[in-house]
């Protein structure tokens, strides 16, 4: 049971990483920008979920609000920050992105307080279900179900719809996609909207799990998601999913077996370094920049 408990913890970590990192890898695939401010979009999702849920009395409404706010924020970041900087070297928008992350984090602190916010009512974090001797709380189950639904939907969207196929084509090769008549600008907006919505949902789910959102909530995810997209092979969605789950499970087992020497983040980065030494191209060996 113990090992199953650990595996489930790891998969829950992995789901969160996947929701975060897919948006990041898509932006990189399309624009070659390391979208650090994605972590702030994630934090925004977490804040909006908690605040709207508290105001409306419904966690579901909180999530819907986050699903509206985060794509708008993502698209605004593209339009107002990245687009004017696209003709500079890729490190210029990246630095702007770091600046935006710091600005937004301090913005959250000033607007919503240093102490962070919590759900007034969050039964999901407390109520548990026993399945064959394994205790899971409802928030963990919600994370698993929501992540599966989202990625199935995303898969159908990118294989079954015209705009979805155009999007996939643009991420994997922007120039050739454009020569086939794909509207690159429209696809970019779509890209930021969907990537940000995923981060927003991830933020809301993390808020549910922790019952707590503070201004620095995006901090860890910001650098760990970067590590994951490198591990997944930059620009590859499949690789990112594999890397997310892999890292989550490694962290979970690592916490127990080497946890008294290294903390979870250190374990994750140690694993990352070892894997990249063996496979510099990442798991899937997709193109690199």
């Amino acid at each position: 049971m113990f090992y199953v408990d650990l595996a489930i913890s790891g998969i829950v970590f992995g789901c969160m990483y996947a929701l975060m990192a897919v948006g990041l890898t898509l932006v990189y695939g399309m624009l070659r920008i390391l979208h650090i401010a994605h972590a702030a979009v994630f934090a925004l999702g977490a804040y909006v979920t908690v605040l709207v849920a508290n105001a409306s009395g419904s966690i579901l409404i909180g999530f819907i609000a986050a699903l509206i706010a985060t794509p708008l924020c993502g698209v605004a970041i593209y339009r107002l920050l990245y687009q004017p900087l696209l003709h500079y070297r890729p490190d210029v928008p990246m630095i702007a992105s770091i600046g935006l992350l710091v600005l937004m984090q301090d913005g959250f602190r000033i607007l919503f307080g240093e102490q962070g916010v919590t759900f007034l009512k969050n039964p999901l974090a407390i109520e548990t279900v026993d399945i064959a001797g394994i205790t899971l709380n409802l928030a963990q189950i919600a994370v698993l179900i929501v992540t599966i639904i989202i990625f199935l939907a995303l898969h159908l969207f990118t294989t079954q719809t015209r705009i979805g196929v155009a999007w996939r084509a643009t991420v994997s090769n922007p120039r050739i996609a454009a020569s086939f008549g794909v509207d690159a600008i429209r696809v970019r907006y779509l890209n930021f909207a969907i990537g940000s919505a995923l981060a927003g949902v991830a933020g809301g789910l993390i808020a549910l799990l922790n019952n707590f959102v503070d201004p620095t909530i995006g901090y860890v995810v910001s650098y760990k998601a970067l590590a994951i997209i490198v591990l997944g092979g930059l620009g590859s969605v499949r690789g990112t999913l594999i890397a997310s789950l892999f890292l989550g499970v490694i962290e979970s087992y690592g916490t127990i077996f080497i946890g008294s020497y290294l903390n979870r983040d250190a374990i994750a980065f140690l694993a990352l370094i070892l894997i990249l030494m063996a496979r510099p191209q990442g798991f899937t060996g997709a193109r690199t920049a």
Binding site: F2, D5, L6, I126, T128, N211, G259, A266
Partner: protein
């Protein structure tokens, strides 16, 4: 006569203006932005209340106190910069740190070298007072806090089998060492140790490990932002053993995050906030008014730092830092907001009893007081 009168008037005017100009500046460093901004804000408000109260009570030796505050972001590099600024630009002779260990530890040698009397309100790294004889600390060091926890678990709770969960910063490490050092002596068997990073809020693997350990008691160090999710997740994972937390659990926000899971959690060296005491009641009301939330241990310690420093100045009857330092070092039985300070030891570490709080009906209430001088003895070197 006229000349004499004019001269007298002039002299008086000079004296008055000097008195007005020569306010006693107290340098203050706190993490107003960055990761520790929560405590920084509480610290700053507590410092301002302390200065207002001291000035309302007439200041010291006919002079008013003036607070000079800088943001050290709880970072060592920033604390060195602001400490140098306090010494060089502002020319302070007295300084208080309402910040974390990393910042206090970096600032202490600068104040020591400049001959500035320096109090760290709640920074727990041993190096802070080791910087020299101008440096004081108003909070108990990590190791005796950990020893007190071991003593409490064995002597009061009568429990013997423990899982230990510790955060991986200076404070967590030092407290853990104190606990582990005394656990065996108290007959406590530590089944397993777990370590987590301060950024972590997800403790699934640790919960799974503790479930396997099946301990009688859990000892954990952490701040509210880690302790809240940790306790909630332990309880949600079905762990029922009592949880004994370190001092930094002591925050209303901890109870807010952990909710019902916080019930019954013990906090070693907690802040006995409902004690009947007019000064404490005044402070609590004033803090609530200015901050919009009730004060925590951190705020009480910062307030008491100003209070005890001003008291030493008054008893010295002089603002000479050397004399004030010596009077402060000889302080006995001073009523602080959280506990009565017995005094300082050779290293200028506090000698005082430890309060143990328990969470009951969503509030921290007094559970017991540890007075054993040997358990609580601060290190002498």
């Amino acid at each position: 006569m006229l000349n004499f009168g004019r001269g007298l008037f002039g002299a008086l005017a000079v004296l008055i203006s000097q008195a007005a100009l020569a306010d006693v500046k107290i340098g203050f460093q706190a993490p107003l932005t960055g990761l520790a901004a929560t405590d920084g804000k509480s610290s700053k408000i507590a410092a301002e209340i302390a200065i207002d109260d001291l000035n309302a009570a007439g200041g010291v030796l006919g002079q008013k106190f003036e607070l000079v505050t800088y943001d050290d972001q709880a970072k060592s590099d920033q604390a060195i910069f602001t400490a140098n600024k306090l010494v060089g630009d502002d020319g302070v002779k007295f300084a208080i740190s309402g910040s974390y260990s990393a910042a206090g530890r970096a600032a202490a040698p600068i104040f020591q070298k400049a001959g500035v009397v320096f109090i760290s309100s709640y920074g727990v790294h041993p190096d802070i007072t080791k910087a020299g004889d101008y440096c004081f600390r108003l909070v108990r060091l990590g190791p005796p806090q950990g020893r007190a926890a071991a003593y409490f678990i064995a002597d009061k709770l009568k429990l013997k089998k423990a899982s230990v969960i510790s955060m991986d910063n200076d404070y967590g490490e030092a407290t853990l060492q104190g606990f582990l050092g005394d656990a065996e002596k108290n007959g406590i068997k530590v089944v397993n140790k777990y370590n987590y990073s301060l950024q972590d809020r997800q403790f699934g693997p640790i919960v799974a490990g503790v479930k396997r350990d099946d301990p009688e008691v859990i000892y954990a160090t952490g701040y509210f932002f880690t302790a809240g999710p940790l306790v909630a997740q332990l309880r949600a994972g079905g762990v029922k053993a009592p949880i004994v937390g370190s001092q930094a659990f002591d925050s209303g926000k901890f109870i807010e995050i952990a909710g019902a899971a916080a019930e019954g959690v013990y906090v070693i060296d907690g802040f006995d906030r409902y004690r009947k005491d007019s000064k404490l009641e005044h402070f609590t009301a004033e803090f609530q008014k200015r901050a919009g939330y009730p004060p925590e241990g951190v705020a009480a310690e910062v307030y008491s730092s100003f209070d005890i420093l001003a008291d030493a100045m008054k008893r010295t009857g002089s603002l000479d830092p050397v004399k004030v330092r010596d009077t402060l070092a000889a302080t006995k039985d001073f009523p602080m907001l959280n506990e009565t300070l017995g005094g300082f030891n050779k290293l200028h570490e506090v000698v005082m009893p430890a309060t143990v709080d328990v969470v009951k009906d969503g509030k921290f209430v007094h559970f017991s007081t540890i007075e054993d001088a040997k358990v609580l003895a601060p290190p002498e070197e």
